[in-house]
Amino acid sequence: MEPAVQSADVEVRGVCCEFLKRAGPDRGRYYLALDNVNFSISPGEFLCLLGPSGCGKSTVLRMIAGFLRPTSGDILVRGKAVRAPGIDRAVVFQGDAALFNWLTTEENIGFGLRMRNVPEAERRRIVAENIRLVGLEGFEHYYPNQLSGGMRQRVQIARVLANDPAILLMDEPFGALDAQTRGIMQMELSRVWSSRKKTVLFITHDIDESLLLGDRVAIMTAGPAATIKKVLHIPLARPREIGPELLGLRQEIKDAIEEEVMKSMRQVDHANSSGS
């Protein structure tokens, strides 16, 4: 018998993305944000996409989610080309603009189930289960503006988990949280992921976050024309702590990112000096 072919859950092949600038001094010019981005995520894998700010990490995620179309290249999700947003790919957004502020915790988490006409009793069960999973018991009837930043991100996470998607796309979900809350949320996410085993694309600019959470870390180059610089494996069991065994990897990632940041700063200097 032939071994079963393990196909990737997410495949990004030769993706380029070009924008027409609509404002600012470069108005009307094209800007090549992404140039030939390639990577894939296996089923159940946790991939961190790490890169300097403004490099186009979110753009990659938004294309996989189906909010944006690549200028060229292919994005396949479980073998099928992405055309539009779908319930197989859930997005946890940066910040909390994506929460429905007129709905309670419970109603936010049950939103997808309600839209999909899941029967009331089943909906209640799933919502309660996910509220327990993210530790929001007692806050079922609170509105988003009555919750702390960390709690709001938990609502977002529970909301997508209630829909039971195959793939989780997380766009710097803890970026706006304070350091302590972020640490707790990282541990919780690690725990939730261990129990649910979703395929995850996690975007961050925090090196330690990527080391704590990822099976692999893909590092992006600085824009314009950003692409994947390198991909590192993190062969460590969870729960992890930043300890001696991670220091080598951490240094390697740090050097790579620093190189990119320096490169982009030189580009800015160059642009400024040639402009004047």
């Binding site: 957004f93 007129w102 839209m115 503006n145 009555q146």
Partner: protein
Amino acid sequence: MQTALAVEAVTPPRNAYKSEAVQHGAIFALSLLCAVALWTFLAWWVGKPAFLPSPMKTLSGAVELIGSGELQADVIASFTRIIVGFTIGTAIGIPLGLLMGISPFIRIFMDPYVEFFRFIPPIAFVTLAVIWFGLGETSKIVLIVYTTLFMVAINTMIGVLGVEPDKRFAALCLGASKVQVFFHVVIPAVIPDIVTGMKIAMGNSFMTVVSAEMVAAKSGIGFLIFNSRLFLLTEWIFVGIITLGLMGFITDRALRLLVSTLLKHYDVRM
């Protein structure tokens, strides 16, 4: 918004609220007393009731008008026009604004008319309204519909354009259809803007009804104010003006109460 929990945590003791309310009421009463005192003094100093009637003379004018039933009839006439016109205007303005918000075609199609009529106050149309719709109720109601419709439609449209794209995206990847996104995300998110438009429209409706009644009506507060001028019954003019202020105050309170009971979770700022 972010500090809601923290605010709850430092909630002052219960009686602090009560004493604050008492303080509030006391300052309010003092303010009224000052106004009446100043008014009385000025009326005495001027000494010509036809030019500036005293508070007492105004009060007796009010008693007179209420006794004859005229004031009540005028209040009801004006209120009816406002409520009918405002309701029709809102009922057209909200769907129109929503359509303009979601469809670029309709938005661009409507844009020249919105931008053109926006700067023409309803008062400019009073004579035309009378020619077209006569001296009856229709002309006044049409003018209020006109003023309400634009204000509500524009605010609704701005609201739709301002809905965070991430809210729509989130709903889409949670399995909502485009129609569901419209009804379950766009409309609830736009409610605060709709209420803002309605509040401005309510103020405009008062202005419109009074000016229309002054030019072309046989009843209403505007008619009362304008007609009293002919008999030099200045105190009746004062009664009319004070009644208008009270009507506005009551309407605003009613709208607030309605919003705070029906729409309390929609982040409406009043």
